[in-house]
Every structure is written in C-alpha cells, then in structure tokens.
Subunit: 287 residues, 5 copies
C-alpha cells in the first residue's frame, strides 16, 4: 500500500497521481477550488472524500480547513489545503503503520475528525451554560453579542455536520470492494457519532434560542420595573406639587392662609392625597 | 440461559464475556465511552442496545444513566454505568425468573424504562399546568426561570425519546432469530408507547411555548397599563401646575388677582382644564 | 354475526371474549390502561382499534373518551371506558341492524366519530372568528386568555387527529380478509375526511397565530400612542412651567416685572415657546 | 361523447347518471356534502375530481366554489354547486367542440382553473408590494389590518393549492385508460403550474412575514424615538424648574437675592446645569 | 451538430425548429409564456430545460432572465427572452467549438449559470457581514430597510435555487441516450454545486434572522436605557421640587422660615431626600 500525503492541492504531483490512478478531472478540480461541500462519492476504482475539520477558532469564529482523500484498493492520496498547521487529524493514521489497508486509514482519519468536533461542541456547551447563568442576572448587550456569536458558530457547525452525516451514510452504503467488509461496524460507529454530533448541535441551538427568549423577557421585565418606579415616584410627588402650587399663588381667599396651623393642615392634605392615589393604584391592581 | 449483570463498564469481566460471546470491539468501546447515543443494533449473533433512564432529577435537571445490553440467543449481558443506585429498571426482569428467554427479559427491561419516562412526563405535565395558572395572574421572573427550566428538560427528554423510538423501531424490524416471534406484539406495544411518549413531549413543548407567549404578552400588557396610569396622572396634574405657576408669578395685571372670589375662579379653571384634557383623551380613544 | 358491547374495560366478560376469540394480551392490557394512543392494527384473525371521541367540553377543555374495537370476520367487540354517557357514536351502527358484516359496523362507527370532530372544529372556527374581530378593537387580557385556551384545544385536537389519520391509513392498507373489499371506497372516504380535519385544524392554528400577532402589535401600538400623548402633554406644559417658575422667583431685575402689560407678554412667551417646541417635534417627524 | 353539465348537486338527474354510469355512492355523497377537500381519484371506469375555484373576492375574503367532475371513457359529468354565476372555467372546454375526448375537456377545465389562480396571486402580489412600501413610512393600524387580511387569504389559498397539486400529481400517475396518453405532457404542464402556484404563495408568505417584522420593528423604533424626545424635554426643563423652585421659596439667605444681577446669574445657572445634564447624557452614549 | 441560438421566444424560426425536431407544443408554449418555473424534463427525443440567471441587480432587487434549452442527440436550440444584454452564460459553450456533443454544451452552460449564482451569493454574504457589524453599534431604520431588502433577495434566490437543484437532480437521473455517459461525473458536480448554493443561502438566511434578532434586542435595550435615564432624572428632581413648592406657599408657620440658616437647612433636606430615593432604588435593584 502506498500513501501519498500532499500539503498543497496545487502541487503538480497531484496531476501525476491523477494520471496514474485515473482520478476523475472533476475531483481534481474540486481539490483546487476552495468552495466545495463536504461529501463522499465513489467510482469503481476509488472513493473520493472532501472532509472539513476545525483548524482554529479565531475571535469566536470557526476556521475550517478542507481535507481531500482518494481511497483506492491499494493506494491512499491525502491532500491538505492549509499546510502551515501540524495536522492532528492524521496522527492516528500515521501511527498505525503503513501496512494497513487504505480503508482502515480512512476510518482512523474520519474518527479523528469526528472526535475533534466533539471537543469543539463540548467547548460551546460550556460557554452556553455560562451565558444562561448570567442572562437572568444581568442581561447586558455584551452577553447578547456573545450569545449571537455562539449562534452563528452553531449555524456553521450544523451545516458542516449535516454534510458529514450524509457523507458517512453514503460510505456505509458503499457496496464496492474498496472498504474492507470487516470494517463495516467501525464505519457504522462513525456514522452513529456523526448523528450524535448533530443531536448535540440541535440541542445547543434549542438551548440558545431558549437563552435568547430569556434575554428578551428579562429586558421587557426590567423596562416594566423601571416604568413602575417612575409611576410611583410621579404619584408620590404630583399631589404635593399641585397643592403647593395652589398655595403659592398670589391670590386672596385661599382657606387656612391666615391660620396658624395652615402649614400643618395643607401638608397633611398633601400626604393624604398622595396616600389616596397610591391606594387607588393598589386597589385597581395597577401596582 | 445465563445473565451477566455488570455494575461497571470497566469491569475486566466484560472483556472475558466479549471474548467468549464474540462481542464486537466497537460495542465494548461504546460501553466504556460516556458520550454515546441511545440505539439498538444487531449482528447475526446478538443484539446490542444502549438505553438511557432517568437516574435522578437534580435541581430540575434530568440526570440520565446509561444502560448497555447484549442480548444473545442464550445469554444476556447487562452493564450499568452508575452502580451506586439501586436499579428499579431491572426488578421486573429479575423477578420473572432465570428460565425466561433473553428477549423476554429485554422486553421487561425496555418496558420498565418506558414506564419510568411516563412518570417523569406526568410530573412535568403537572408542573406546566401550575405554571400556566400562575403566569396570567402574576408574571414574575421566578416563574420565567421555572418555565425555561421545564423547557430545557423537555429539549433533553425529546432528544432521548427520539432515539428511543428509533431503537424500538429497529428492534421491530429485527428479523433475526434472537427475538422470539411470539414476543413481536409486545415489542410493538413498547414501540407504540415510545410514540405516545414523544406525542406527550411534543404537546408539552407546544403548551410551554404557549405559556411563554402568555408571559410575554402579560408583561407587555402590564407595561401598557402602567404607561396609561402615568399618563392619566400627568394629565390630571399638568393643567393645575401650569395655572398655579402663572398665578405664582410676581407680575402685575393678572386677572382676578384682587378679586375676593379669585381663588374659586382660578381653582375652578384648573378643574375645568383638567376635565377638558381628560375628555379629549377619551374622545380620541387614547384612554 | 355477534356484537358484544361492553361498558367497562374491567368487565370480566372481556377476559372470556379474549379467550374465545384469541384476542392478544397486549390488546386487552391496552383497553385497561388509560394512557393509550389512538391506533389501528391487525392480526390474522381480527383488527384492533383504539379510537377517541370528544365526550364533553368542560370549561373550554376537550374531554376525550376512549373506545376500543375488536373487529373479526364474524364478531365485533366494542369496549367503552366511560359508561355514564349515552353514546351517539354507536347509534348509526346500532340502527343499521345486526345482519351487517362487522367491517360495515366499523365503518359506521368510524364515520360517526369523524363527523363529531367536524362539529367540534366548526365550533372552534366560530370562536376564532369572534376573537379575531374583537382583538383589533379591544386587546384585553380576557381575550388573550380565550385565545390561548383555543390554542391549547387545537394542540390537543391536532395530536389526536394525526393519530386518527394514521389509523385510517393503516386500515386502508389492510389487505386482510376482515374488511369487505366493496367497503374500500367507504374507508377511503373516511380517510379523506380525516385529512380534511387535519387541514382545518392546521388552518385554524395559522389563523390563531395570526390573531396572536395582531394582539401583540395592537398592544405595541397602544403603548406607542400612550407614549405620544404623554410626550405631547409634557411638551405643552414644560415651557409654561419653566417660565412661570422663573417669574415666581423672589429676585430683582426680571424684565417686565413692573410693566403693566407684563402678564400679557410673559404668558405670550409661554404660548410661543410651547408652539415652537411642538413645531420642532413635528418638523423632525417625531410626532 | 356526451357531456352532462349539471348546475346543482341535488338535481335528481345526478342519481340517474350515477345509476347509468355506475358512479360510486361515496362520490355522489361528496358532491352533495359541502365540506369536501379538493382531490382526484380513479376507479376502473371513471375519474372523480373535486375542484375548487375562486368564485368571488368579498371584502378581501376569497369565496371558493366547488366543481365536481366524473370523467369516463366516453362521458363527462360536471356538477357546479353555485349555479348563479356564469362560469368562465368551462368556457374554453365549451368552445373546443363536443367531439373532443373527455380527458381533453378535463385538461382544458383544469388549465382554466389553474390560470384563474395565477390572476388571484398576481393581485395579492401587487397588494403586498403596496403594503411593503407604506409600512416603513407610516406603520398605522389600518395597514396592520390589511396585512393580516392578506395573510389569512394566503393561508386559505395555500391549503387549496396543496390539495390541487396532490390532485394533479395523482392524475399524472393515473395509468388507467381514461386519460389519453398523448395528453400526458399537457397534464404534466398543469402539474408544473400547480407547483409554481405553490412556490409563489410560499414566497408571498415569506414576504408578508417579512413585512410584519418590519412593522413591529418600526413601531418599536418609534416608541424609542418618542421616549428619547420625552427624556430630552425633561432634561431641558428639570434643572430650570428645580432652581426656580428654590428661588421661589419664602426663605431668607438665598444668595444673589438682593443683587441687581441676581436674575442673570440664576438664569445663567439654569442654562448651565441644563447644558451639563445634556452633555452627560451625550457622553454616556444615552442619547 | 447544429446549434440554433434564438434571441426572442416569439421568433417564428422557433416554430420551424419545433416542426423539424418534433418539439412538444407545451414546451414551445412554456418558452413564450413568461411565468414559468425553472425545470428540466425529457422526452425520448430531447431534453427541455428552463433555466434562470441573474440578469441584473436593480436597486437591490434581483432581475432574473429566462433561458430555454432543447438538447437533442445532434441538435441544440437555445432561446433567450432578454436579447438586449450580452450573455456571459453562453461564452464558455461558444468558445468550446461547434464539434462538441450537445450535452457537453449543456454542461458548460449549466456550470456557467451555477458559477454566476456563487458570485451573487458571495456579494450578499459581504453585505450581511457589514450589516451585522453595524447593527449592534447603531440600530437605525436605514439598516433595518437594508436588512429586509437582503432578506427578500434571499427568499427569491432560494426559490430559484431549489428548482435549480431539482432540475440538476432530474438531469442526473436521466437514463436516456441524450447525455453522454462519460459526462455523468460532470453533471454530478453541477448538482453538488447546486446543493452547496442552497446550503449557503440557508446559512445566510439564518444569519440574517440572527441579525434581525440582534436589531430587535438592541432597540429594546436602548428603550430600557432611555427609560432609566428618565427615571433617574425624575428621581433627582422630584424631592427638590416638592420641598421648594412647600416653601413657596404663602402660609404661616413653616419651620425655619425666619431662621438665618433656613436656606442651608432646606436645600440640605432636598439633597438628602434625593439621595435617599436614589439609595432606595439601588437597594431594591431597580437601577
């Protein structure tokens, strides 16, 4: 078995390999265009896979890297499009020795990729738990920003994982002679893991939507509270203002103007009218 | 028939059993990784199931425990991953006696698990009923918190039940020789129950969303009410304040300043203008 | 043909019938547990159906009653679980005479049940029409409560009807010898009616969501209106208050203090400044 | 070929035709009940179709009329349930002459009905365009009412069109001898048109939801603007009111009371404090 | 091979070609009606395709143009319905030379159309990124307008792309002799690209909905902030106004009226009561 590991899709060696192993021109083109969808498809001679793994997380955004595989009966061509990073995805396959059949190496690579997604989703899960705790206490715009960043990450992740699941399913159905039959249960296991990844992403999306609803209703609640405070303050102040305004007028004939207890009576009237308005608000269930 | 009941997936006895009954390495690995999806799948020799049951409810969160089964023609291996709790799930199977076929025991265990979910959902149902009653009366943040906790529980529950239903369906389709044909109607019954569980969870989710909408509109309504109170208070007070302000000015030539009935006239004007503003608001349908 | 009509699932006669006609234990258990899903399933010897009909509407909630049927080639067993009400569902079947084949009676019972749902949905339709009319005029919390009660009813109804449709479909596919082939078009008709029921429930749900959106936007609109009134009132009053406050100060040197036309000038300034603020608000499109 | 065009489903002639052409009783019953779903189904002898067309648009509501067809090898029975209107749906079929095969007439009638839906949808499209333009400029309740009327119309239309599409699809699959094989491309064309109708309705629904979101956010925006105006007004007025209130007190020892420039100083302090509050609001990004 | 490129569907040459190549009348009618859906369908003799490409973007709206193809074994008829623009869609096919089989030309045209959609979606992607950045900083109505324009564009684009995907899928399934078998992988590639286009549109729609939610919650947040400012301002001012109102009354017996330190005491009381209200608001967590 021979394994050709290329670090650059534009490497002319890929053309040589394409000629030698009769790789289809559309597949070579797929490697070189950078706008491709994760997929797995087969010809009689080989399987072609486009895989994606999370290369880095930059300011909350997931940076995906493409990974192309041509898996034949006795050859394996792997093409990476981001040669600058050390690739943990390949380590398990590299360690397992060169005498393995190509489909065993394919399984090891797929399984490493799926495992890397679990790490990423667990990380998201922790972040969302933190967000949920802080949203009810303090619904600030910074949390909102964070919440939407997580949401965008999940939108992207879901799209990639849906395609990964489809690719795993089409590998399972692959009745060709390329995948060793005794590896079927392993590929089925990878497929189950891809389903579980999607389950987890869906659950996280539901939880995030949940959190967003909590945020919105917390803000609505707070606006409501603030409005009530304003109303109570106005209620307390207005009767006093009206009565003191009346007694501030330069008019004759206001009652108690000349009385020695005028102040006590009028201030008492202020307190009484304020109390009455508060009592009315309470009675009609407004406060 | 021999039944091996292990309390720990890492028990070396599991390796011995795997060797004796030719259990597939991916299944043994599934038992030992704790990130697996509920499922049922079969080989020619045995059925492998990953089941989940609700071990405990901690502060509103559901704690699931995994339960692994290997069901062969004449052997049954059950593996629990949380040995510290007494397991009611197994009691019915244990009581039915050791001379039952493994698939009969499988049915009894599955049925016990499904029944335990019914208990949990009925409990949720009661909580949601209580929430619905209190939301319209008093939409407080504490109720909101409660509401979202229920929602999260249902999200988790739904995910597990979808997988349970799929597992029950794949058991039904199992044409192998492991499940006794005369048990088919019983497995179909379990499948029907899993469908009903999902129905109930979906209905509860709809009701919770309903309740959340009630909450949001109650808060909006209350804000609206508070705003109206504030507006009415301002309307009542402002004309009086403006008129008393004018008569408080140290200017000459204000009408009725020297009149003996000045107070009556001016206060009457205050009341009249307040009444007029209220009448205008009413007429334009604003209050 | 013999028809056994039981009024209580716990009637011991059911056990006798089960023994005589070889009814499956899971089906007998289904009759006696009260947590079952509407369904239709067949064995070689008979069809077993769980049906639900609306027994009563209590304070807006639908109360369903279960109805179990065992339809054989020459026998019919019907079991009701709420014997206290007279059952209109059975009347058409009872009137059609005892010499009908069991599957004909099954059709008559099914058709009566489907018709009873049409009555219930038409009733809901009228209620929703009323709600829609009143929501725009007067979005009160009482209407909201009513709206959500209707919504809950539709959620329940939909769940039952989905299962009814599935049961009708599985009856259609029933290739066994129990249903008389010349009755096929009749069962197809019942199936079409169940589809139409679901259509109607979906339409009503869409209309209710529509009505809820109208409610929410009406409340938002009213809040907006109330805010504007408050702002206009404040705008009208504030310049007057500020100016009268200034002229109420016990300071020397205020212009026009000694003038005979001071009052006219200052009140004119109040009116002018109020007008100017209103004009500014209008110009910037705020009011 | 003979064409029987009845104007009333209760016409006794329908019973005669049913006897002569062996029309199934459930189909005759379908014609006479007015609660049926649009559908197409076939027996060996004839095709039975229930079609719906838009009879009129009354105050924004679509009034549908039913149209029943029995299409045999050498006969056509058409039944209308609203005889009072002239039926443009039939005109093309009537003009094509009596010597056409029944399935050709069926095609012409179906095509006329589909075309009439295109007219109705184009009309809705124009209305929605108008709504979208006016919503951002002036989000009034009248527009809201209009918007929800359109939404209700689309809900109804969609339900009918889904059934129309299903009927067209079942006609295409009709392998019987009733539809002339050379008409297949024409029926496929009608099916394509029904798909396009559904596409258009879905797009219009998306656009309407879009418009509703614009409405809601416009109202929220305006409330926000009004609140800001109120806050600015209060900010401008409050410092002046507080200071003038203080200098209106009948107390001794207020500074500048006896000064000749007291007025200038105190009014200057009012302006300065108002400016300071505005500057603070600006600095904290609140306005 | 002969290629007939018509610039106008009403060109009488189309009728000649229809007669010569036995093109079906419904297809010719499809070319001439302008209300058709993108599709691909085949007869024994030729494939008929209706394609759409983006002719122009006018004020944010996508203007689609139709493009009709008849692909036979040895002929190709292309019909454009907007002859006024130079058509880049055809350039690759024109350059590839006249000796290519018609299905190769079909592939080249399809691929050009798919590529043109990628350009359009990338453009939308950039716009949505810009929107997302500006929404949190400054949620203005202009951004809202922009956001909804993008949404409408995606709704239209999605509808067209769904049909494009279906057409590509039906081309793949085309087992006829018109498409050269060795071109199958190329058509599969085009199909994959159409799937990826839909993926991208779905992701963009999710992101736009996300952005809209950010907008709504930013506005709610700002309203909340403005309300708080208003409440703080009122809180600061009201105690001072009430106390100064009381000391402005023309009553006898107010304490400190005759004191030399009256002003200091009363103003001190104002400051103290304002501070107390603020402290209370803070303590109850309202501010």
């Amino acid at each position: 078995m021979s394994w050709y590991a290329l670090d650059d899709p534009n490497d002319p060696q890929l053309d040589d390999l394409a000629a030698r192993f009769q790789l289809h021109p559309t597949h070579i083109e797929d490697c070189r265009s950078n706008n491709e969808r994760l997929k797995a498809e087969g010809t009689d001679q080989y399987l072609f896979l486009i895989l994606k793994y999370i290369r880095a997380v930059q300011e909350g955004d997931l940076i995906f890297a493409n990974f192309f595989l041509f898996v034949g009966r006795d050859f394996l061509v792997t093409v990476r499009d981001t040669p600058d990073v050390s690739c943990e995805i390949l380590q398990r396959a590299q360690r397992s020795g060169p005498d393995q059949p190509p489909s065993k190496l394919l399984y090891l690579i797929l399984d490493s990729i799926v495992d890397s997604y679990f790490v990423s989703i667990d990380h998201s899960d922790d972040r969302i738990d933190d967000l949920q705790d802080s949203v009810l206490d303090n619904p600030s715009p910074a949390i909102l920003q964070n919440l939407f960043d997580q949401k965008r990450k999940l939108i992207e992740l879901r799209r990639v994982l849906v395609n990964l699941r489809d690719a795993c399913m089409s590998l399972q159905r692959e009745s060709g002679s390329i995948i060793n039959p005794e590896l079927y249960p392993f590929f089925r296991d990878v497929y189950d893991h891809s389903l579980r990844l999607l389950d987890m992403v869906e659950t996280l999306r539901d939880l995030l939507n949940n959190t967003f609803d909590v945020y919105l209703s917390s803000v609505a609640n707070r606006t409501n509270q603030v409005m009530k405070v304003l109303t109570i303050l106005s209620t307390v102040a207005l009767p006093a203002l009206v009565i003191s305004g009346i007694y501030g007028m330069n008019l004759k004939g206001l009652p108690f103007l000349e009385s020695d207890h005028g102040t006590e009576i009028v201030v008492g009237a202020m307190v009484a009218s304020t109390g009455m308005v508060l009592w009315m608000l309470k009675r009609f269930g407004w406060l």
